[in-house]
Symmetry: C2
Subunit: 253 residues, 2 copies
């Protein structure tokens, strides 16, 4: 067996390996009116001009992937510091996903509390929240393979809720148990028993921290306000099993 020119790096005299444009795409999810929503832009250029697509753009030289995703999000929403939890989802391509050539994209998942998207001028790609359900049932079309990426992102979000404290990433800094439950119900598309959810959420050590404050809703008894406990906050990124073990089970299958 001989050494292929593509095995590891080669001396300068060897032909250079193929180079690819690399983009980051972001599946930004949030809860709006009890339903899961995704941030989409309307493309201004060909291909797929006028079609909805995930926000994203090219990775710059010497730039990290998550940093690139964060930068693109800020640029396309007009929001300096986008809130929520951002993590890498997976890579797609480079073959056969763009009509103009090989483009590798690294998709990211943002689980965020609802934040207002700044309306851009008419010459900029306009970002806005769209119900995920409208993409799933086919009433909204997405450019490129973004439908597939969205599917994967939603599936990832669903499973994240089971064994990680990241459901709270959809809430603000402080939230009630009912608000947290609404997140689980929206993402999983199910109803959960309020009483049992309350016990599980408050009873899991290292998950929630009582702020001592109260939240007055439209009706009914005021609810206690919670925040993420430091332990859960620290473990947000890592593949931890420290909290929510055994996991919060999503019903059925």
């Amino acid at each position: 067996m001989t050494i292929s020119i593509y095995d590891g790096f080669m001396p300068d005299s060897y032909p250079a390996p193929a180079r690819f444009p690399v983009t980051v795409d972001v599946v930004a999810l949030t809860i709006l009116g009890g339903a899961l929503h995704v941030l989409l832009i309307t493309r201004l250029l060909e291909p797929f001009r006028g079609t909805l697509a995930l926000p994203g753009g090219f990775v710059l030289a010497a730039e990290d992937l998550v940093a690139a995703a964060r930068r693109e999000l800020a640029e396309e929403t007009g929001v300096e510091q986008v809130p929520g939890h951002l993590e890498q989802l997976g890579s797609y391509g480079p073959a056969g996903r763009d009509p103009r050539g090989d483009v590798l994209t690294v998709a990211h998942l943002l689980m965020a509390p609802n934040f207002p998207v700044l309306a851009a001028g008419s010459d900029a790609e306009h970002a806005a929240w769209y119900p995920v359900g409208n993409v799933m049932d086919g009433s909204l079309e997405l450019a490129f393979d973004h439908r597939q990426i969205l599917d994967d992102a939603v599936e990832r979000a669903k499973s994240k809720l089971e064994y990680s404290p990241l459901g709270a990433a959809f809430c603000g800094e402080e939230f009630t148990i009912a608000q947290l439950r609404a997140v689980y119900e929206a993402v999983w598309g199910t109803r959960l028993d309020p009483r049992n959810f309350h016990r599980k959420a408050t009873g899991t050590p290292g998950f929630l921290e009582d702020t001592g404050q109260m939240f007055m809703g439209d009706a009914g008894r005021p609810a206690a306000l919670f925040r993420l406990a430091p332990a859960a906050r620290a473990s947000a990124g890592q593949p931890t099993r420290a909290v929510l073990n055994p996991p919060l089970m999503r019903p059925h299958g």
Copy 2:
């Protein structure tokens, strides 16, 4: 807000976006002598010449990521059809992980039964199995950020065993319950109760299929031979929750 030249694709008149060399790296895991092993090559070229590294190489034009990983594995092991389950793990870079510049790598995870690696000639990078424990405890050094990638891969493998039937990917086509249990014990680094594991494995609908054959070991009663049930085989790649629900729990935390 104006349109950045990096937002989406630009007309030909705009400057081209940065292009990156893209590699695929493969963390090939298997069980040898009851311990988790990883496939490593010894680098023949700078940088990290003489250091152990994950097998991998550059993605070709118009090539898919998993296909590239499969091709590189075949090239560097001399094995035409590498067995086991191959999936994408995640992407690393492009910033700050290679002394010579920005290289994006897409890491992959192979969970495979033990297969012999063909000894390459002295001029080729030689692939061989090494105990994962020897990397973890620092007695083996890896090139680039491959230590980090290995850590992530092992963690992924651990969690895969919990809720997917992919533990069987470490076994051959047919296997006994004890062999399957040895996989779980090696990956998780724990001991499992043989009796309870047997009940859980055989009792999970859609997981295992009895071949009717028997396997004679060194001592003791012969064990029944099983294979993956069709349902589990089909769901191998997808984020399924069809089998192993509730999951096989790994002890403690």
